[in-house]
Symmetry: C2
Amino acid sequence: MNAHVVALCGGVGGAKLAHGLAMALPPAELSVIVNTGDDFRHLGLDICPDLDSVMYALAGVADPVRGWGRRAETWSFMEALKGLGGESWFQLGDRDLALHVERTWRLARGATLSEVTAHLCQALGIAVRVLPMSDDPVRTRVLTVEGWLDFQEYFVHRQCQPAVRDFVFAGAESAQAPADALAVLERPDLRAIIICPSNPFVSVAPILAVPGIRSAILRATAPVIAVTPIIGGKAIKGPAAKMMAELGLEVSAAAVACRYTDLIDGFVIDSDDARSQPPPGVRFFSTATLMSTTEDRLRLAWEVLKAADLLGTVA
Amino acid sequence: MNAHVVALCGGVGGAKLAHGLAMALPPAELSVIVNTGDDFRHLGLDICPDLDSVMYALAGVADPVRGWGRRAETWSFMEALKGLGGESWFQLGDRDLALHVERTWRLARGATLSEVTAHLCQALGIAVRVLPMSDDPVRTRVLTVEGWLDFQEYFVHRQCQPAVRDFVFAGAESAQAPADALAVLERPDLRAIIICPSNPFVSVAPILAVPGIRSAILRATAPVIAVTPIIGGKAIKGPAAKMMAELGLEVSAAAVACRYTDLIDGFVIDSDDARSQPPPGVRFFSTATLMSTTEDRLRLAWEVLKAADLLGTVA
């Protein structure tokens, strides 16, 4: 039986489905390729927000209320930093900081981001494979009505306020996908490639911009299925819907599916959008896609796997 | 009237007297030159333990119980770092970490240690001048019966256990004293130079090893007075007494005074040691030197200033 599932994902929303898949599958049967376009250097620290969200979700230490960072977090560092006149627009919890310091230090000593991530996963007791989309720096930049902004400047500092016009993934053209990421996409026993409910413009697009990843997906014989980040014309979290409107796109699950038509065989929409018309060559599956609880994550993972297996059988 | 006082000091003990002097004098009348031989890079962070102790003491945020670090400290970072398999032999509190991150970041952007220290002092509301002994790296190394150890490896990781044979201050010969430090030592209105009750081998000796500092002290016409770190044959805190024994020296205040004879005019011993014989050319002053309370710090500062002024009058 085809045994390996690869999930592509960004931060919070994607991380929830990755967690669901990790609960649904034996650890050896899942690899998660994570967006690193959000990564940035802040206060001298190498911060990888999406890798962190995925690792925290998979390790079961993510904060369930805030939606980002670690549970049982404390904020003494931030408080003291403010007292020293330091930059305080990017929130760094005391526990969270340990990850950034440890990663920065290991990278400075010459380890690759893949190696550091593997080490951190092991320390956090994460058994599934978490792979950065590249060990080379790729940096998402956002063209707004006010000009170009670095991603975190747009996303956190400016809270997604300036209307967007375009995105670039600086460094992507010369970035290499890690050999491990290409290897899992090229596995002969691939069961499915799942595009998690992440922002199509700034979470999924950077992954697909890394040379080799898109072509490996196009070559794969396994079904490719995406999960909508839009329910009833709204994003669950984050700026996906706002971005679609600003770019002059219809704000709908079907419009997201359209962006992926060359890649996907199936697309999971929310039951609320069950009447949407799929683009040609894409089959829609509808189910409840909102993941409020841990059970929701597992249930959606099962639904997505079931849909993928159905697509696999049909093919 | 001669108006400016310069204190040379290391960490905790020295920082207490520096704090006493800061309470006793108007801010413009005190400069503190601090040992940086203990500085080290840990987890990619530039840590300056003595500068930190002095700044925390002067800002009134030092922890009164532990004797090092910040009061109201929390330890989430350290806990999380252990969970990630990180190096945990050097304790970094969450609040304390803000100072290290902010300093490391500013140094990486090209600021000197003097500039960063001035900025941090301003942010912490410290009005007296705190000057590192050099902006160039000087690193204390300890020759022990087990071989050479970096200072923090010896001091924190090995808890001063291996017996010492010698010390070197790597980089000292080519290090420059900051212009500001030389300028305060060369002020024509210098009232006194005070060597705080710090470890003579690893806190005061590194400062004196920086070219220009010892000679500036020798040239100064102001009285030079040291305060004993040894009371009744014991160190208040730290390894000074243990080191003296291991080096085959008498463990006494008088033996410390002997190490400074070429530099000092006066030496403040504890009342418990009132019968000690001073070395030639040095006048002993005895008073209670243990600083348990904030009042003790201020009272000792007054006593030291009074003794220095007496020496100044005699000269």
